[in-house]
C-alpha cells in the first residue's frame, strides 16, 4: 500500500487517551481510560446501565466534556471541538428525530447545515438504502419503531462521518425486529466501511455484531477482545458472569505439573491449563475455577465408572431441570458450588436425570479457566438479571 492510502486509512481511528468524566456532584462516570478503535471496525462498548459506556460515547461525540484526557479522531485532536465541528454522527437512543420535520427533511438536516444545496438525490438514495423511499413525506410519529430507527441511521450515515456512534440504537425494538436490525446494521457497516462504535447493555447484541467488544464496569474497561475470546477467556468474574453464565468454584492450588495446575476443591481435584489462568498461582493460594455450562457433560452416578480418565469431575444432585427444546438446563446442587448450571444438548436423553438424582459432572480440563479469588464471585450477575 502507498503512503497516501495509509494516511487515509487511519482517519477513522478513534483514540482516547486518559479520558475521564467526573460530574459536578462528585460522581465519576468514567475512570481514566485509554482506548483505540481502529478505522473500519465495528466496536461495541458493553456494560450494565451506569457503567460509563454512554458517557464515553458522548465524550467522543462532543456532547460531554471530559474532565481529563484527550480524544483523537485520526490524527486530529478534537477534545475541545463542539459537536457540530466533529466529523462524527450519532444514532441516539430513542432516535431523537425532529418531530416537526418530515422524514426527507430529517435525513437532509445534516447536509443542509453544511451548506449543501442540492440534497434531493443523496437523500433519496439514502432513503432507498434503508428501504424508506415511500415514507419520505411522512412525519416521524407516523412511522413504526423499526422505521424510525432506520431514519435515525440514515440521518447520521448520509453525512458520511468518519465514525458513527450508536447509543443503544435497538433498545426500543422488540426482540424479533432487534435481531433483524442487528443483521441490517452489520450489513450497512460492511458496505460503507465506516468505524462504528456501538453502546449496548445486551451481551448477545454486542457479540453478534461487533468485531471487538470492550466490557465496561464501574467506569472502567474490564476486558477488551473479540467476542469469542471474551467468552472463552474471561479475565474477571464480572466478565465471566456478565457474558453468558459461568460456574465459579473456589479452589486451592495443590501442585503444578508442566503447563497444568492441579487444584483442590471440596474433596476432589480439578485440572486447569496454566495459560488460561489470569490469577497468580502460588501453591496453597486460592483461585476461582470457572467453566461454562454448555461445556459440561452429565452422567448418572451409577455409571460414573464409564467416564473417561483425565476429565475434571464433580459430584452433585440435580436440584432442578427445565426443558428448553434444543437443550435441557439443569441446576446441580454440589458441595463445591451450590447452584451449578449445566446445559445439555437433547441428543440422547437419560430418563434418570430428573431432580433428586445423583450425578457426576465432568468436562475437558481445557475448557477450564482460572480467575483471581480476591474478586467478588457474584460480580456481574445482578446486572444481567436486570436486563
Amino acid at each position: 500500500m502507498t503512503t497516501v492510502t495509509n494516511k487515509t486509512d487511519n482517519t477513522g481511528d478513534v483514540r482516547l487517551s486518559g479520558i475521564s468524566k467526573t460530574y459536578d456532584n462528585g460522581f465519576t462516570a468514567v475512570q481514566p481510560l485509554d482506548l483505540t478503535v481502529p478505522q473500519g471496525s465495528f466496536f461495541a462498548l458493553l456494560g450494565a446501565s451506569g457503567c460509563g459506556k454512554t458517557t464515553t460515547l458522548r465524550m467522543i461525540a462532543g456532547l460531554e466534556e471530559p474532565s481529563s484526557g484527550t480524544v483523537f479522531l485520526g490524527d486530529q485532536e478534537v477534545t475541545s471541538l463542539p459537536p457540530y465541528k466533529r466529523p462524527v454522527n450519532t444514532v441516539f437512543q430513542s432516535y431523537a428525530l425532529f418531530p416537526h420535520l418530515d422524514i426527507f427533511e430529517n435525513v437532509a438536516f445534516g447536509l443542509r447545515r453544511r451548506g449543501i444545496k442540492s440534497v434531493k438525490k443523496q437523500v433519496e438514495d439514502m432513503l432507498e438504502l434503508v428501504q424508506l423511499g415511500e415514507q419520505a413525506r411522512k412525519k416521524p410519529h407516523q412511522l413504526s419503531g423499526g422505521q424510525q430507527q432506520r431514519v435515525a441511521v440514515a440521518r447520521a450515515l448520509i453525512n458520511t462521518p468518519k465514525v458513527l456512534l450508536l447509543d443503544e440504537p435497538l433498545g426500543a425494538l422488540d426482540l424479533k425486529l432487534r435481531r433483524q436490525m442487528q443483521l441490517e446494521l452489520k450489513r450497512i457497516q460492511t458496505e460503507v466501511g465506516i468505524t462504528f462504535i456501538h453502546v449496548t447493555h445486551d451481551q448477545e447484541e454486542a457479540m453478534t455484531m461487533a468485531d471487538t467488544v470492550a466490557v465496561m464496569n464501574a467506569g472502567r474497561v474490564e476486558q477488551l477482545g473479540s467476542p469469542a475470546d471474551l467468552y472463552e477467556n474471561p479475565n474477571t468474574t464480572f466478565v465471566a458472569n456478565f457474558l453468558g453464565t459461568s460456574n465459579l468454584i473456589e479452589a486451592e492450588v495443590d501442585t503444578k505439573s508442566g503447563d497444568e495446575i492441579v487444584l483442590k476443591a471440596g474433596g476432589g481435584k480439578l485440572v486447569l491449563p496454566e495459560a488460561r489462568c489470569s490469577a497468580p498461582t502460588t501453591t496453597g493460594g486460592k483461585v476461582l475455577v470457572g467453566v461454562r455450562p454448555e461445556k459440561i457433560s452429565l452422567t448418572h452416578a451409577d455409571e460414573a465408572g464409564e467416564i473417561p480418565e483425565g476429565r475434571n469431575r464433580i459430584t452433585g444432585k440435580i436440584a432442578d431441570s427445565s426443558f428448553i427444546g434444543v437443550s435441557t438446563q439443569y441446576v446441580i446442587d454440589s458441595p463445591v458450588c451450590p447452584e451449578f448450571e449445566v446445559y445439555a444438548q437433547n441428543i440422547d436423553r437419560d430418563a434418570r436425570l430428573v431432580p433428586g438424582a445423583d450425578v457426576v459432572l465432568h468436562w475437558n480440563p481445557a475448557h477450564t479457566f482460572g480467575l483471581d479469588a480476591a474478586q467478588d464471585i457474584d460480580a456481574g450477575i445482578q446486572e444481567e438479571a436486570a436486563v
Binding site: L63, Y84, K85, N89, T90, S94, L97, P99, R113
Partner: protein, 307 residues
Amino acid sequence: MSTLTEAPPLAPVPEKKPPRKRGRLVPYWLLLPGILWLVVFFALPMVYQASTSVQTGSLEEGYKVTWHFATYWDALSEYWPQFLRSLLYAGAATILCLVLGYPLAYLIAFRAGRWRNLIMILVIAPFFTSFLIRTLAWKTILADSGPVVGALNTLHVLDVTSWLGWTSGDRVLATPLAVVCGLTYNFLPFMILPLYTSLERIDVRLHEAAGDLYARPITTFRRVTFPLSMPGVVSGTLLTFIPAAGDYVNADLLGSTDTRMVGNVIQTQFLRILDYPTAAALSFILMAAILAMVTVYIRKSGTEDLV
C-alpha cells in the same frame, strides 16, 4: 350507532341492560355542569347583548328591539380611531411580551436547574396582588418626578420617544408608551407560561441531535427549538393580544384622553352615557375583529400538527 344495532340480540338478557344504559349516560351527566355554566354565563349574556345592540330607545322610554343595524355602522365610523389604537397597542404589547418572555421562558425551561421553581413562582407572584393595585403602582413608577423618568431624561431617551410620538415632552405618564408598558407588564405572565410549557416539553436530545448534525447553537434554535415552541408562541400571543385589545384599565390609569382604547369607549358608553346599544355593538365589533384576526393567525402559523 353500534349500540343500536346490537340492542335486539341483547334484549333476552334483561339483567345486563340497565347498567349499560346508565353507563352510556354518565358522560352527559358529567358534561352537564360545564354546559350549564356556559349557557348561563356565556350564551345567555351573548344573546342578551346581541339583542341590545339592535335596540333603539332611551332610558326614560325604555329600549325596544327594532333591528336597528345602523348602530354598528355609526359606532364603527365614530370610534374607528379607538379600535385602531386598541389593536396597535395590543399588538405592540404582545410583541414586547414575546421579546421579553421568550428568553425568560427559555432560561426557565433549559438553564434554570434547581432555580426553576423559584423563578416560576416569581413569574406568578404578581397575581397575588390585584390587577388594579399593580397598575396603580406603575403610576408611581412612571411619575414625572420619579427615578425612571429622571434616568430616561438624562439619557435623552425621552427625546427620541417624543420624536416618535410615544411620549410627550418630559412625561411618560399619560402617553402611549405608558399604556403599552402597562399592558406588557400585566400580560407578560400569560405569555411566559404557555411558552414555558411548550419549551419544557422539547426533548433536550433534539438539541444534541441538531448539534451532532452540524447545526450551530443559533441554527439549532432557528431550525429546531423555535419551530417546536410554536404552539406556545401561538397560545401565548393569543392570551396576551386578546385581553390586551379589550383592556381599559391600563389606558384609564396610565393614559390620557389621547390614548383611549375601545375598552374605554365601551366602558363609558355602558356606565356613563348609558347608551347600551352602542356599547353592545362596539363589543360585538371588537369580538368579530379579534375572531377574524385569530382565525387567520392560527391558519397561517400552521401549528395544527404540533399541538
